[in-house]
Amino acid sequence: MKAMRSGWVSALCSLVVLTLGMCVDKDPSLPFLGPREVSGGDTLYHTIAPFSFVDQDSLVVTNADFDGRIYVADFFFTSCRTICPVMKTQMLRVYEATKGMTDFLILSHSIDPEWDTVALLHEFAERLGVESKRWHFVTGEKDSIYKIAQTSYFATAMEDKTEPDGFIHSGAFLLVDRGGRIRGKYDGTRKEDVDRLIDDIKRLRRE
Protein backbone atom coordinates (compact mmCIF):
# COMPACT_ATOMS: atom_id res chain seq x y z
CA MET A 1 0.00 0.00 0.00
CA LYS A 2 2.78 2.33 0.95
CA ALA A 3 4.57 1.52 -2.27
CA MET A 4 1.45 2.23 -4.28
CA ARG A 5 0.95 5.59 -2.62
CA SER A 6 4.50 6.63 -3.26
CA GLY A 7 3.98 5.57 -6.87
CA TRP A 8 1.03 7.92 -7.15
CA VAL A 9 2.97 10.73 -5.54
CA SER A 10 5.85 10.36 -7.92
CA ALA A 11 3.50 10.21 -10.89
CA LEU A 12 1.81 13.41 -9.72
CA CYS A 13 5.18 15.07 -9.22
CA SER A 14 6.26 14.12 -12.73
CA LEU A 15 3.06 15.59 -14.10
CA VAL A 16 3.63 18.87 -12.26
CA VAL A 17 7.24 19.03 -13.43
CA LEU A 18 6.17 18.25 -17.00
CA THR A 19 3.49 20.96 -16.98
CA LEU A 20 5.92 23.50 -15.54
CA GLY A 21 8.47 22.50 -18.12
CA MET A 22 6.01 23.21 -20.87
CA CYS A 23 5.34 26.68 -19.47
CA VAL A 24 9.02 27.65 -19.45
CA ASP A 25 9.99 28.70 -22.96
CA LYS A 26 12.89 26.44 -23.83
CA ASP A 27 13.51 28.29 -27.07
CA PRO A 28 13.18 32.01 -26.39
CA SER A 29 13.63 34.20 -29.45
CA LEU A 30 16.99 35.85 -29.97
CA PRO A 31 17.41 39.46 -28.81
CA PHE A 32 17.54 42.44 -31.16
CA LEU A 33 20.84 44.29 -30.82
CA GLY A 34 21.43 48.00 -31.23
CA PRO A 35 19.33 51.09 -30.59
CA ARG A 36 15.59 50.94 -31.18
CA GLU A 37 12.87 53.49 -31.73
CA VAL A 38 9.25 53.28 -30.72
CA SER A 39 6.98 54.95 -33.22
CA GLY A 40 3.29 54.75 -32.49
CA GLY A 41 2.77 51.24 -31.19
CA ASP A 42 5.62 49.74 -33.21
CA THR A 43 9.20 49.15 -32.22
CA LEU A 44 11.70 49.86 -34.96
CA TYR A 45 14.90 47.89 -34.52
CA HIS A 46 18.34 48.83 -35.74
CA THR A 47 18.95 47.58 -39.29
CA ILE A 48 22.02 47.32 -41.54
CA ALA A 49 22.42 50.50 -43.60
CA PRO A 50 22.34 50.31 -47.42
CA PHE A 51 25.62 49.04 -48.88
CA SER A 52 27.13 48.11 -52.21
CA PHE A 53 30.37 46.15 -52.44
CA VAL A 54 32.04 43.87 -54.99
CA ASP A 55 32.62 40.19 -54.27
CA GLN A 56 35.27 37.66 -55.35
CA ASP A 57 33.44 37.03 -58.62
CA SER A 58 33.30 40.79 -59.44
CA LEU A 59 29.59 40.78 -58.73
CA VAL A 60 28.00 43.77 -57.02
CA VAL A 61 26.61 42.71 -53.65
CA THR A 62 23.96 44.83 -51.91
CA ASN A 63 21.39 44.49 -49.14
CA ALA A 64 18.99 43.10 -51.73
CA ASP A 65 21.11 39.93 -51.99
CA PHE A 66 20.51 39.28 -48.30
CA ASP A 67 16.87 40.29 -48.18
CA GLY A 68 14.77 37.49 -46.70
CA ARG A 69 17.90 35.56 -45.80
CA ILE A 70 19.89 35.04 -42.64
CA TYR A 71 23.59 35.87 -42.77
CA VAL A 72 26.73 36.14 -40.70
CA ALA A 73 29.08 39.10 -41.29
CA ASP A 74 32.69 39.61 -40.29
CA PHE A 75 35.67 41.87 -41.04
CA PHE A 76 39.12 40.57 -41.97
CA PHE A 77 41.95 40.88 -44.50
CA THR A 78 43.83 38.17 -46.33
CA SER A 79 47.36 39.14 -45.23
CA CYS A 80 46.41 39.27 -41.56
CA ARG A 81 48.41 36.96 -39.33
CA THR A 82 46.84 37.70 -35.99
CA ILE A 83 43.20 36.80 -35.43
CA CYS A 84 41.91 36.44 -39.01
CA PRO A 85 43.25 32.95 -39.68
CA VAL A 86 41.54 31.78 -36.49
CA MET A 87 38.35 33.57 -37.54
CA LYS A 88 38.48 31.91 -40.96
CA THR A 89 39.01 28.50 -39.36
CA GLN A 90 35.93 29.12 -37.21
CA MET A 91 33.88 30.59 -40.10
CA LEU A 92 34.63 27.42 -42.06
CA ARG A 93 32.88 25.54 -39.26
CA VAL A 94 29.84 27.77 -39.77
CA TYR A 95 30.08 27.18 -43.53
CA GLU A 96 30.17 23.40 -43.09
CA ALA A 97 27.39 23.42 -40.48
CA THR A 98 25.05 25.36 -42.79
CA LYS A 99 25.51 23.19 -45.87
CA GLY A 100 22.18 22.79 -47.62
CA MET A 101 20.60 25.87 -46.02
CA THR A 102 19.65 27.88 -49.08
CA ASP A 103 18.41 30.77 -46.91
CA PHE A 104 21.77 31.31 -45.23
CA LEU A 105 24.85 33.26 -46.41
CA ILE A 106 28.21 34.46 -45.13
CA LEU A 107 29.54 37.98 -45.82
CA SER A 108 33.23 38.66 -45.13
CA HIS A 109 34.38 42.26 -45.63
CA SER A 110 38.02 43.06 -46.32
CA ILE A 111 39.20 45.98 -44.23
CA ASP A 112 42.31 46.23 -46.44
CA PRO A 113 40.45 46.70 -49.73
CA GLU A 114 43.37 48.31 -51.55
CA TRP A 115 45.49 45.18 -51.10
CA ASP A 116 42.61 42.71 -51.21
CA THR A 117 41.57 43.10 -54.83
CA VAL A 118 38.80 41.05 -56.42
CA ALA A 119 41.44 38.75 -57.94
CA LEU A 120 43.10 38.21 -54.59
CA LEU A 121 39.80 37.55 -52.82
CA HIS A 122 38.86 35.14 -55.59
CA GLU A 123 42.04 33.19 -55.11
CA PHE A 124 41.63 33.24 -51.32
CA ALA A 125 38.08 31.87 -51.49
CA GLU A 126 39.12 29.23 -53.98
CA ARG A 127 42.00 28.11 -51.79
CA LEU A 128 39.65 27.97 -48.85
CA GLY A 129 37.51 25.73 -51.03
CA VAL A 130 34.24 27.63 -50.56
CA GLU A 131 31.46 28.48 -53.00
CA SER A 132 30.91 32.12 -53.94
CA LYS A 133 27.16 31.79 -53.84
CA ARG A 134 27.26 30.80 -50.16
CA TRP A 135 30.17 32.89 -48.92
CA HIS A 136 30.81 36.37 -50.33
CA PHE A 137 34.20 38.00 -49.78
CA VAL A 138 33.76 41.68 -50.51
CA THR A 139 35.97 44.66 -51.14
CA GLY A 140 35.01 48.27 -51.81
CA GLU A 141 35.65 51.84 -50.74
CA LYS A 142 37.71 51.70 -47.59
CA ASP A 143 35.68 54.45 -45.92
CA SER A 144 32.39 52.72 -46.71
CA ILE A 145 33.62 49.46 -45.22
CA TYR A 146 34.92 51.12 -42.06
CA LYS A 147 31.73 53.11 -41.72
CA ILE A 148 29.40 50.15 -42.09
CA ALA A 149 31.57 48.19 -39.64
CA GLN A 150 31.29 50.89 -37.01
CA THR A 151 27.77 52.15 -37.46
CA SER A 152 25.82 49.16 -38.76
CA TYR A 153 27.58 46.13 -37.29
CA PHE A 154 29.15 47.79 -34.20
CA ALA A 155 32.43 46.08 -35.06
CA THR A 156 35.74 47.91 -34.78
CA ALA A 157 37.73 48.28 -37.98
CA MET A 158 40.35 50.93 -38.59
CA GLU A 159 43.88 51.49 -39.77
CA ASP A 160 46.54 51.73 -37.09
CA LYS A 161 50.16 51.81 -38.17
CA THR A 162 51.33 50.84 -34.68
CA GLU A 163 49.63 47.45 -34.89
CA PRO A 164 51.72 44.51 -36.24
CA ASP A 165 49.54 44.22 -39.34
CA GLY A 166 48.59 47.89 -39.62
CA PHE A 167 44.95 47.49 -38.60
CA ILE A 168 42.90 47.02 -35.51
CA HIS A 169 39.67 45.16 -35.83
CA SER A 170 37.38 43.04 -33.74
CA GLY A 171 37.05 39.34 -34.36
CA ALA A 172 33.28 39.57 -34.08
CA PHE A 173 30.80 37.50 -36.08
CA LEU A 174 27.43 39.24 -36.42
CA LEU A 175 24.24 37.29 -36.98
CA VAL A 176 21.72 39.20 -39.11
CA ASP A 177 18.10 38.11 -39.59
CA ARG A 178 15.86 38.15 -42.68
CA GLY A 179 14.92 41.76 -41.99
CA GLY A 180 18.50 43.08 -41.74
CA ARG A 181 18.42 43.23 -37.93
CA ILE A 182 21.37 42.09 -35.78
CA ARG A 183 20.35 39.19 -33.57
CA GLY A 184 23.65 38.08 -32.10
CA LYS A 185 27.31 39.00 -31.69
CA TYR A 186 29.95 36.30 -31.19
CA ASP A 187 33.71 36.17 -30.73
CA GLY A 188 34.87 34.57 -33.98
CA THR A 189 38.13 33.45 -32.39
CA ARG A 190 36.44 31.30 -29.74
CA LYS A 191 35.11 27.84 -30.57
CA GLU A 192 32.46 27.92 -27.81
CA ASP A 193 31.08 31.21 -29.12
CA VAL A 194 30.89 29.81 -32.63
CA ASP A 195 29.10 26.69 -31.32
CA ARG A 196 26.50 29.07 -29.89
CA LEU A 197 26.30 30.94 -33.21
CA ILE A 198 25.63 27.69 -35.09
CA ASP A 199 22.78 26.91 -32.65
CA ASP A 200 21.41 30.42 -33.00
CA ILE A 201 21.35 30.19 -36.81
CA LYS A 202 19.13 27.12 -36.49
CA ARG A 203 16.88 28.92 -34.00
CA LEU A 204 16.59 31.97 -36.22
CA ARG A 205 15.57 29.80 -39.18
CA ARG A 206 12.63 28.53 -37.13
CA GLU A 207 11.32 32.06 -36.48
Binding site: S79, P85, R127
Partner: protein, 141 residues
Protein backbone atom coordinates in the same frame (compact mmCIF):
# COMPACT_ATOMS: atom_id res chain seq x y z
CA UNK B 1 66.53 -1.28 0.00
CA UNK B 2 70.18 -0.76 0.88
CA UNK B 3 72.29 2.04 -0.56
CA UNK B 4 74.00 -0.30 -3.02
CA UNK B 5 70.73 -1.63 -4.29
CA UNK B 6 69.54 1.93 -5.02
CA UNK B 7 72.64 2.64 -7.05
CA UNK B 8 72.13 -0.58 -9.00
CA UNK B 9 68.47 0.30 -9.52
CA UNK B 10 69.28 3.69 -11.02
CA UNK B 11 72.14 2.37 -13.10
CA UNK B 12 69.91 -0.27 -14.64
CA UNK B 13 67.12 2.21 -15.07
CA UNK B 14 69.34 4.54 -17.08
CA UNK B 15 70.55 1.78 -19.31
CA UNK B 16 67.12 0.30 -19.80
CA UNK B 17 65.28 3.43 -20.82
CA UNK B 18 66.24 6.50 -22.78
CA UNK B 19 66.32 9.36 -20.35
CA UNK B 20 65.05 12.50 -22.11
CA UNK B 21 67.78 15.01 -22.61
CA UNK B 22 66.90 17.94 -20.33
CA UNK B 23 68.09 20.42 -22.96
CA UNK B 24 65.90 18.80 -25.62
CA UNK B 25 62.98 18.85 -23.22
CA UNK B 26 63.51 22.52 -22.51
CA UNK B 27 63.73 23.35 -26.23
CA UNK B 28 60.52 21.44 -26.89
CA UNK B 29 58.62 23.26 -24.15
CA UNK B 30 59.83 26.67 -25.28
CA UNK B 31 59.39 25.74 -28.93
CA UNK B 32 55.77 24.80 -28.35
CA UNK B 33 55.12 28.08 -26.54
CA UNK B 34 56.64 30.05 -29.43
CA UNK B 35 54.75 27.97 -31.98
CA UNK B 36 51.42 28.67 -30.29
CA UNK B 37 52.29 32.35 -30.05
CA UNK B 38 53.57 32.99 -33.57
CA UNK B 39 52.63 30.16 -35.91
CA UNK B 40 49.51 28.27 -34.90
CA UNK B 41 47.04 30.97 -35.98
CA UNK B 42 47.71 30.04 -39.58
CA UNK B 43 49.37 26.63 -39.49
CA UNK B 44 46.88 25.48 -36.81
CA UNK B 45 47.71 24.07 -33.37
CA UNK B 46 48.00 20.56 -34.84
CA UNK B 47 50.33 21.74 -37.63
CA UNK B 48 47.80 20.65 -40.24
CA UNK B 49 47.51 24.00 -42.06
CA UNK B 50 44.26 25.43 -43.44
CA UNK B 51 42.93 24.00 -46.70
CA UNK B 52 45.00 25.37 -49.61
CA UNK B 53 45.53 28.74 -47.88
CA UNK B 54 48.18 27.87 -45.28
CA UNK B 55 50.38 24.81 -45.84
CA UNK B 56 50.73 22.04 -43.27
CA UNK B 57 53.90 21.63 -41.23
CA UNK B 58 52.96 18.20 -39.97
CA UNK B 59 54.23 15.61 -42.43
CA UNK B 60 55.46 18.34 -44.77
CA UNK B 61 57.99 17.21 -47.38
CA UNK B 62 58.89 20.87 -47.87
CA UNK B 63 60.18 21.25 -44.32
CA UNK B 64 62.55 18.30 -44.66
CA UNK B 65 63.84 19.40 -48.05
CA UNK B 66 64.08 23.15 -47.34
CA UNK B 67 65.06 23.23 -43.71
CA UNK B 68 67.36 26.25 -44.03
CA UNK B 69 64.80 28.25 -45.98
CA UNK B 70 62.14 27.55 -43.37
CA UNK B 71 64.40 28.83 -40.57
CA UNK B 72 65.06 32.01 -42.55
CA UNK B 73 61.36 32.33 -43.31
CA UNK B 74 60.44 32.25 -39.64
CA UNK B 75 62.47 35.40 -39.07
CA UNK B 76 62.37 37.21 -42.41
CA UNK B 77 59.16 35.90 -43.95
CA UNK B 78 58.52 34.03 -47.19
CA UNK B 79 56.65 34.82 -50.34
CA UNK B 80 55.93 33.31 -53.70
CA UNK B 81 54.65 29.88 -54.61
CA UNK B 82 55.78 26.80 -52.76
CA UNK B 83 54.82 23.17 -53.27
CA UNK B 84 54.05 21.15 -50.15
CA UNK B 85 53.12 17.49 -50.46
CA UNK B 86 52.20 18.04 -54.09
CA UNK B 87 49.96 21.09 -53.48
CA UNK B 88 50.86 24.61 -54.56
CA UNK B 89 50.48 27.35 -51.93
CA UNK B 90 50.88 31.06 -52.49
CA UNK B 91 50.21 33.05 -49.36
CA UNK B 92 52.94 35.39 -48.13
CA UNK B 93 54.16 34.49 -44.66
CA UNK B 94 55.19 37.49 -42.58
CA UNK B 95 58.41 36.91 -40.67
CA UNK B 96 58.74 37.47 -36.94
CA UNK B 97 61.79 39.67 -37.02
CA UNK B 98 62.04 39.79 -33.22
CA UNK B 99 62.80 36.05 -32.96
CA UNK B 100 66.29 35.50 -31.50
CA UNK B 101 68.66 32.75 -32.62
CA UNK B 102 67.81 30.78 -29.49
CA UNK B 103 64.09 31.12 -30.17
CA UNK B 104 64.54 30.01 -33.79
CA UNK B 105 66.50 27.00 -32.58
CA UNK B 106 63.75 26.13 -30.10
CA UNK B 107 61.02 26.53 -32.70
CA UNK B 108 62.88 24.44 -35.26
CA UNK B 109 63.61 21.75 -32.68
CA UNK B 110 59.94 21.64 -31.76
CA UNK B 111 58.43 21.42 -35.24
CA UNK B 112 60.96 18.85 -36.44
CA UNK B 113 60.60 16.70 -33.35
CA UNK B 114 56.83 16.80 -33.47
CA UNK B 115 56.03 16.70 -37.17
CA UNK B 116 59.04 16.00 -39.33
CA UNK B 117 62.33 14.23 -39.33
CA UNK B 118 63.50 14.56 -35.70
CA UNK B 119 66.88 16.23 -35.65
CA UNK B 120 67.37 16.32 -31.87
CA UNK B 121 68.36 19.67 -30.45
CA UNK B 122 69.00 22.20 -33.19
CA UNK B 123 71.87 24.20 -31.80
CA UNK B 124 71.87 27.98 -31.57
CA UNK B 125 75.30 28.10 -33.22
CA UNK B 126 73.86 26.35 -36.28
CA UNK B 127 71.23 29.03 -36.75
CA UNK B 128 73.63 31.92 -37.37
CA UNK B 129 75.10 30.62 -40.66
CA UNK B 130 71.56 29.95 -41.91
CA UNK B 131 70.54 33.52 -41.21
CA UNK B 132 73.69 34.92 -42.75
CA UNK B 133 73.15 33.06 -45.98
CA UNK B 134 69.47 33.72 -46.55
CA UNK B 135 67.89 36.42 -48.64
CA UNK B 136 65.87 38.92 -46.69
CA UNK B 137 62.76 39.85 -48.63
CA UNK B 138 61.75 43.46 -48.78
CA UNK B 139 58.87 44.49 -46.52
CA UNK B 140 55.53 44.47 -48.29
CA UNK B 141 54.48 48.04 -47.58
Amino acid sequence: MSGHAWILYFALGCVGCSVPDPKLKQYLVEGERLYLQHCSNCHQPDGGGLRRVYPPIAGSDYLDANFKRVICGMKYGMEGEIKVNGVMYNQAMPGVISLTELELAELATYICDKWAKPRGVIEVKDIRPFLDSCARPRPRR
